[in-house]
């Protein structure tokens, strides 16, 4: 094992003893363990039931009002889904008829899953929509179907489709040609002046993907209030009353909206009842009395909640899950976060506990079952999206802690059990985030520490006050005040999302429960590669990898650092400008062709005002952003050029151009097969570039409390966070900055040449947004914290700091205290987010060499936890390369 440690970055001593496992080990209940074993055996699978019936109904209603067609199509999809109930389940229902089931949604986009020789596919490739796919690696193990085998066809390197369904998939997809959101959006985005520049930007992977048709919803917090309070029949009654009030009056769209919600709910009701019937069928053939009784109970429960509000905690949890899946089935969605579930369900749970209907053991079993169900969620999308951005994850973030409506701590006993089951039943979903507040009880925080130490990468630690400040700054003009800001939660992996307090009436007592009250809070300009933009500045607008001109000549001689910085601002602004306009058109196509109904029905105040979320029916609508990738790589590169070219004049910019093109005399990452800097191999002419490479690596690096480079970081942040407000979203609201890398630092690094900080061609960028580049943070965690907080984090929707700590460093109760103090120190300095891998990096190396032995190993990437074997190699190499802290 010792040879592994040679290629790992350490802070502190190198571990010499055997590879150390994580500290806390709890076993899941037998029921959850069986379900998880079944999950481990299951492959990602797609079926055509839903898209077939959706498309069939859509065609039948040619000429009808679009939102009605949409509702009828969704209804047809829901009511024809084959119910499948797995033995031992306490919570049931899923996206499709497989355990990890999903399906294509050709009404959004149909080109990427066509055969490579198909004309549609070639057109998509030409327009730059699929370039990111080409440079993405998808995990080779776990549940991914990476290649076609026998009667199963692999799609996007992850999903399996039975050969019997392939012809109908192609036929259905072709029916959406020139009708899908993708195609209609593309048709009209070309009207934007400078559109060709947008295509060049996409081909160069300066921008990762269009959000309008890939993942038009998500990165938001769902709201379960209406089903929990009114039940399906109650919501239908609200809609019927709404129709009576608006029929025939101006603003007639309200009439169609209410009617559409009713139609959609009828579909969901049939879907639930089909499951109830299946539960009774399963009971009828079951020999085991306990299992038979559980099936019968499940059938009764489903029948009840197909119409009525929940009677108890179990009903409420099942209904919550149904609507979660319901939303996921209307669009391709990542990051539909359940939000503060422990607070939403608390009134039901407490009442059951008080009456003796529920106990700790039953609660744990149910919460573990919930973890398994959320982990089963898959999102069918292109390889670039599912691999290059999501790493196969779907980002269902469950938040705990924070504050109540009245400003007191919101942490409760149910959330303690949510943390407990996060330890006992380690799964990627739902990931957990602690909304850290100075008012959070110590016992609660220490339970969070216990869970983080268990090593699954959650909970992440998020600063409640910083998020509230961001939300008040950006949603204040829409009426948000302090009390409502407290209802926020994380949407997706790390997007601060507005919430509202809803009055749940249970037995005559009002409980104010939090829930999301805005649509997707992260759509717009999705992932701009900062190092790649700097590359085009250095080469006067050219992408030197492809030889294509991306931007017109900037006209600067780049003789000063100020000119270089100006050139960067110019190109970055050009990219944001054209991408904002084209994405606005794509999202306009989405809301016109494929309006949200399930999610709209759930979000306050859509039912009150009779408008869907695309028509700004939500309470808050300032939800578009500009996302960055590679912050630290950019800033380190600027620092290197400032020092080596402009101040000390060690090298000319021309010398840097040559060194970048020659990759500092190294082989590329694609040639070495590793995407980590430490594994790169010198080529024959390395000695020519040894000096410039050494001095680039030795230039000041972010993460060491060094004002030289931290001041450049602040320069970037202050400018970026402010400039985004100059761009207007589809809803005519100012945009804001969002800074998470998710997995994009892998594929975006893959297409970027060497950078002036000494990073080599094709290797990953720095992860997160305020993480140090692997191995360059040499002065300990507190120096890293000082660098990371050199700017005000509430200017941005988020910041992201990823750290890796050896398990021995936080061992025992003393280690827990020390660990909490570390996190507290960062929060008190104004840090927004920090998350940890508590792992011995040598174990990760071992897992890379022998993945079959590590099927259940979980790691934290950038805002999400994922099974190691389902990560692409780019991200695996990057996680290994992160600095491992051997002391705090």
């Amino acid at each position: 094992m010792d040879n592994f440690s040679e290629s790992i970055n350490y802070y502190g001593h190198k571990p010499e003893e055997q590879v150390e496992d994580r500290e806390k080990k709890l076993r899941p209940t037998e029921r959850a363990n069986n379900a998880r074993e079944l999950y481990f055996s299951a492959k990602s699978s797609i079926s055509m039931e839903f898209p077939y019936w959706y498309t069939r109904r859509w065609e039948e209603l040619e000429g009808d009002v679009t939102i009605i067609r949409r509702a009828e199509s969704l209804k047809a999809g829901f009511e024809h889904l084959t119910p499948v109930i797995y033995p031992g389940e306490l919570l049931t229902m899923g996206k499709a008829c497989y355990l990890r089931g999903s399906y294509p949604m050709p009404w959004l986009s149909e080109a990427f899953f066509m055969a490579a020789e198909d004309k549609l596919y070639k057109e998509a490739l030409e327009s730059g929509k699929l370039t990111a796919d080409t440079f993405t690696t998808v995990g080779k193990g776990g549940g991914n179907v990476t290649k076609s085998v026998g009667n199963v066809i692999s799609i996007a390197g992850k999903f399996g489709l039975r050969v019997e369904e392939m012809p109908v998939m192609l036929e259905v997809a072709k029916k959406w040609k020139d009708r899908s959101v993708d195609d209609i959006g593309h048709k009209y985005e070309q009207l934007v002046p400078g559109y060709k520049e947008k295509e060049a930007i996409m081909r160069s992977v300066i921008c990762m993907f269009d959000s309008g048709y890939t993942l038009p919803q998500g990165r938001e917090v769902i709201n379960y209030y209406y089903p929990l309070q009114y039940g399906i029949d109650g919501i239908i009654s609200i809609c019927e009353e709404g129709m009576n009030e608006v029929a025939g009056y101006p603003e007639m769209d309200r009439l169609y909206f209410y009617k559409s919600v009713i139609i959609m709910l009828q579909g969901i009701r049939s879907w639930i009842r089909n499951y109830a019937a299946e539960a009774r069928f399963m009971a009828s053939i079951e020999q085991d009395e306990k299992q038979k009784s559980e099936y019968l109970e499940m059938g009764l429960r489903l029948d009840h909640i197909s119409s009525n509000p929940p009677r108890d905690f179990h009903d409420a949890l099942q209904l919550l899950w149904i609507f979660h899946v319901g939303v996921l089935n209307e669009d391709a969605i990542s990051g539909l976060s359940p939000g503060r579930v422990g607070q939403v369900l608390y009134p039901f749970w407490k009442r059951d506990m008080d009456k003796g209907f529920m106990d700790r053991e039953k609660t744990i079993e149910l919460l573990e079952c919930m973890r398994i169900k959320f982990t089963e969620i898959d999102c069918f999308a292109s390889m670039g999206v599912v691999g290059g951005v999501l790493s196969g994850n779907t980002f269902n973030n469950l938040c705990i802690g924070g504050l109540k409506k009245d400003g007191t701590s919101a942490a409760n006993e149910l959330e303690m059990l949510i943390l407990e089951t996060g330890i006992s039943c380690e799964t990627p979903q739902p990931t957990l985030s602690v909304l850290y507040d100075e008012k959070s009880p110590e016992e609660f925080l220490l339970k969070g520490i216990e869970c983080t130490k268990a090593g699954a990468g959650y909970p992440a630690w998020v600063n409640n006050q910083v998020a509230m400040e961001f939300l008040l700054n950006n949603y204040g003009h829409e009426g948000m005040q302090l009390e409502e800001a407290r209802a926020w939660a994380i949407g997706g992996c790390l997007e601060s999302s507005p919430g509202s307090w809803m009055p749940l009436n249970l037995d005559g007592e009002i409980h104010w429960i939090p829930g999301g009250s805005a649509p997707a809070t992260s759509v717009g300009v999705h992932f701009l590669s900062l190092p790649k933009i700097l590359e085009t500045v250095i080469f006067d607008g050219m992408d030197m990898r492809s030889g294509e001109r991306i931007f017109p000549s900037h006209g600067y001689k780049l003789e000063t650092f100020e000119e270089l910085w100006q050139g960067f601002q110019d190109y970055f602004s050009r990219a944001v400008h054209v991408l904002t306009l084209t994405n606005n058109i794509q999202h306009d196509a989405w809301r016109k062709i494929s309006p949200s109904l399930v999610n709209s029905m759930l979000k306050p105040d859509c039912l009150e005002v009779g408008r869907d979320i695309g028509q700004q029916g939500s309470r808050f609508n300032t939800t578009f952003n500009v996302e960055s990738c590679g912050n630290t790589t950019l800033v380190n590169s600027l620092a290197s050029l400032k020092k080596n070219v402009y101040e000390e004049k060690n090298f000319s910019l021309e010398a840097y151009r040559k060194a970048i093109l020659e990759n500092f005399g190294y082989h590329t990452a694609q040639e070495t097969g590793s995407y980590s800097l430490v594994d790169q191999k010198p080529a024959e002419h390395y000695s020519e570039y040894r000096k410039i490479h050494r001095m680039s690596l030795d230039a000041p690096k972010f993460g060491n409390d060094d004002p030289y480079v931290d001041s450049i970081f602040k320069l970037w942040e202050d400018w970026f966070c402010e400039m985004t407000h100059n761009y207007r979203s589809l809803y005519d609201q100012p945009m804001y900055a969002c800074q998470i890398s998710v997995s994009t630092h892998g594929p975006m690094g893959a297409v970027t040449l060497a950078t002036p900080d000494g990073r080599l061609s094709g290797t990953t960028f720095s992860d997160g947004s305020v993480s140090a580049y692997p191995g360059t943070d040499k002065h300990g965690p507190y120096a890293l914290f000082s660098s990371a907080t050199c700017w005000n984090h509430s200017q941005s929707q988020n910041s992201q700091l990823n750290m890796k700590i050896h398990p021995s460093v936080v061992k025992g109760r003393e280690g827990s205290r020390k660990f909490l103090e570390l996190i507290r120190a960062y929060m008190r300095k104004g840090g927004f987010h920090v998350q940890f891998n508590i792992v011995d990096s040598r174990m990760l190396k071992q897992a890379q060499e022998d993945p079959d032995k590590f099927r259940s190993l979980l790691v934290r990437v950038a805002g999400f936890t994922q099974y190691w074997v389902e990560l692409g190699k780019q991200i695996q190499d990057e996680v290994i390369a992160r600095t491992e802290y051997e002391e705090l």
Partner: protein, 83 residues
């Protein structure tokens, strides 16, 4: 030749395998019918389905359909007479 995916006791886990609802054993989609197997409603067992190309056909002579689609919740499904 009927296979396990045509059986009403087939519980699909993924595209490669399933579980027999009766025996609780793992089974493969291509396994042949056992003595306890019963047909599940599918388009290919419906009198209103007309096969055309491989894995494609028409529903009620007009609408695109495919033989292996589950038709348990289709209101127009009618069993073809079994030989």
């Amino acid at each position: 030749m009927n296979t396990c995916t045509d059986c009403k006791f087939y519980l699909p886990v993924d595209v490669f395998k399933g579980i027999c609802k009766l025996s609780k054993k793992d089974i493969l989609p291509g396994d042949l019918f056992c003595e306890k197997a019963e047909r599940s409603p599918k388009c290919k067992f419906c009198s209103k389905f007309t096969p055309e190309k491989e894995f494609l056909g028409k529903c009620m002579a007009i609408t695109l359909a495919y033989p292996d689609m589950n038709a348990a919740s289709c209101v127009d499904f009618e069993w073809i007479s079994q030989n």
